[in-house]
């Protein structure tokens, strides 16, 4: 409940705040024609898409984090752990460096290539999980994911080496993670993979509780482990891919939000999953608000803020655990 209120409050408040002051009354004032209503234009064109994107990206990353942590039985797992976000980054780097210039349904080449890249990484991870027979531990999946991530990072470095000065600048900016979304098309497009991921997540909470205690004891209690793992992997990867193609690799959201939520609601995934989705939204909207306003009129990439906030919080969590 509290998390829902927080998320809704963030969605309502955030679009109103920014480098230029606007008034909610003026935004919805029907007497002013839209073409002349600067407040409404700022609200609907500059701010609202950005806040909606933050909400979607924040919840997707937080949910994927929860699922990966339970699936891999490792509290340090995050949406990046299995290399999906590295795959998405590689796609974006290739599109920027080789100057891809096409669009589909109003979405430009970079997010499209990024989503395709996340699918490539997903295919590798899926192959790993299929090759993973019974008796092999989650450690194998974890090590495989870390290896895929390292490999893809090397290819990213190679592609960046080929880039010229301006392309390198764009690449670096993209890798910082930014919610510079100024239209609704990419948001609409991301809803399809996100909706698939959400419906996958919806079947998982109890199975994740049992899997996090041990996959063999979960099987003995009636969990169809192979199916649950497949649904979890695909859903979390889809959500991560959609989030990264929308905003770039925004760090720390997927690792600290689940931990903070567990501190408050406990370990039961039937609470942790929805609460993380809501808190992830609110957290990223809040971070983006800071990014937009702290050195206004300049806008910082939100990834800098999430890392600056998330890093110390995560260190505190680590020290607290020991």
């Amino acid at each position: 409940m509290a998390f829902g209120t927080l998320a809704i409050a963030a969605c309502l408040f955030a679009p109103l705040a920014g480098s230029t002051r606007i008034h909610l009354g003026a935004v919805f004032d029907r007497s002013i024609p839209y073409a002349d209503n600067i407040d409404a234009q700022i609200f609907f064109v500059a701010r609202l898409p950005r806040v909606l994107a933050a909400a979607l990206v924040g919840s997707a990353l937080a949910l994927s984090g929860v699922v990966f942590q339970a699936l891999l039985r490792n509290p340090l797992a995050s949406p990046d752990t299995l290399g999906v976000s590295a795959g998405a980054s590689l796609g974006a780097m290739i599109a920027i460096t080789f100057g891809f210039d096409f669009s589909l349904l109003g979405i430009s080449a970079v997010p499209l290539a990024s989503f395709a890249g996340s699918f490539g990484a997903l295919a590798i991870v899926y192959g790993l999980s299929a090759a993973r027979r019974r008796g092999t531990s989650a450690i194998v999946l974890l090590l495989g994911g870390v290896t895929v991530q390292a490999l893809l990072s090397a290819v990213i470095a190679f592609v960046q080496y080929l880039a010229d000065f301006t392309q390198t600048f764009r690449n670096v900016r993209w890798l910082m993670g930014s919610l510079d979304v100024a239209s609704y098309a990419p948001i609409w497009a991301s809803l399809l993979p996100l909706a698939l991921a959400w419906s996958g997540f919806a079947t998982l909470p109890r199975a994740l509780d049992l899997i996090s205690v041990g996959s063999e004891s979960a099987a003995a209690r009636g969990v169809d482990i192979e199916r649950a793992e497949r649904v979890a992997l695909v859903s979390a990867s889809l959500a991560t891919g959609a989030a990264v193609s929308l905003a770039g690799p925004v760090s720390f959201v997927g690792i600290i939000v689940p931990h903070l939520v567990r501190l408050i609601v406990g370990a039961d995934h039937r609470l942790v999953l929805p609460a993380s989705a809501l808190f992830g939204s609110a957290f990223l909207i809040g971070c983006d608000l800071v990014a937009r306003t702290i050195i206004a009129p300049l806008e910082l990439p939100v990834g800098i803020i999430t890392a600056l906030v998330g890093g110390p919080v995560f260190l505190w969590l680590l020290l607290r655990r020991v």
Binding site: Q69, A70, R73, N74, P75, R133, R134, G135, A202, T203, R206, D209, L210, S212, V213, G214, E216, S217, A219, A220, R221, G222, V223, D224, R262, G266, A267, D268, R270
Partner: protein, 259 residues
Amino acid sequence: MLHTTDVSFAYRGTPVLHGVSLQVHRGAMVGLLGPNGSGKTTLLRILAGILTPAAGRVAIDGQPLALMTRRELARRVAVVPQETQTTFDFSVLDMVLMGRYPHLGPFALEGAADLEIAKEALAATGTAAFEARRFSTLSGGEKQRVVIASALAQASDVLLLDEPTAALDLRYQLEIAALLGRLNVERGTTMVVSTHDLNLAAALCERIVLLKQGRVIAQGPTRETLTAQNVRSLYDVDADVTFHERAGRLTVVPIGRAY
């Protein structure tokens, strides 16, 4: 009620079990003995339906496990592993309620009936006092009792225990043994217990199955099967097996390696 007929199994080409046939009757307490690597854990996994045998049949009340869904199977057979470690901080009650999983639909929440079953399982294992505590803060023996409570909450016909006392000190070993004996007598729970502790088996089990290199070398009533000769052929250990007056059961005293 639980039967295996000529069960064989191999892990990636390495044979582990050869033609194992055994019967576990309703209400029985069967001990599974054998050296490390003899196939005890594999056999328990096959009995739980977690592994599918390469050859042979496993059935519960005549119904082949291979034809049952995971959920159906979990309503018939519960497993207590040697050790349980949690990644996240579940409470003791949470852990026990997880045993209700096979009885609930995918989106159902535990109801009052499930809560009552869980509390009853906590009471039966003497763990009701720490139902609100974090599982991770319990001692080894307390954890094992909670995991047994969780298996009881699963309301299955058979309980499979894989070396349930291996990680525990002497006091907790006796405590868990007494608990298992009581559950068997009072609730009529059918149990298969694998163990390295011959004295535990002697105290607890009316029948034992001796497994060596994936084959059953002897099975029968504990009094007749737990002999110095069988211990020697099982472990290559010279041991005295005598009836202990004060304990009222057979005791095994290992003397040394037999070459």
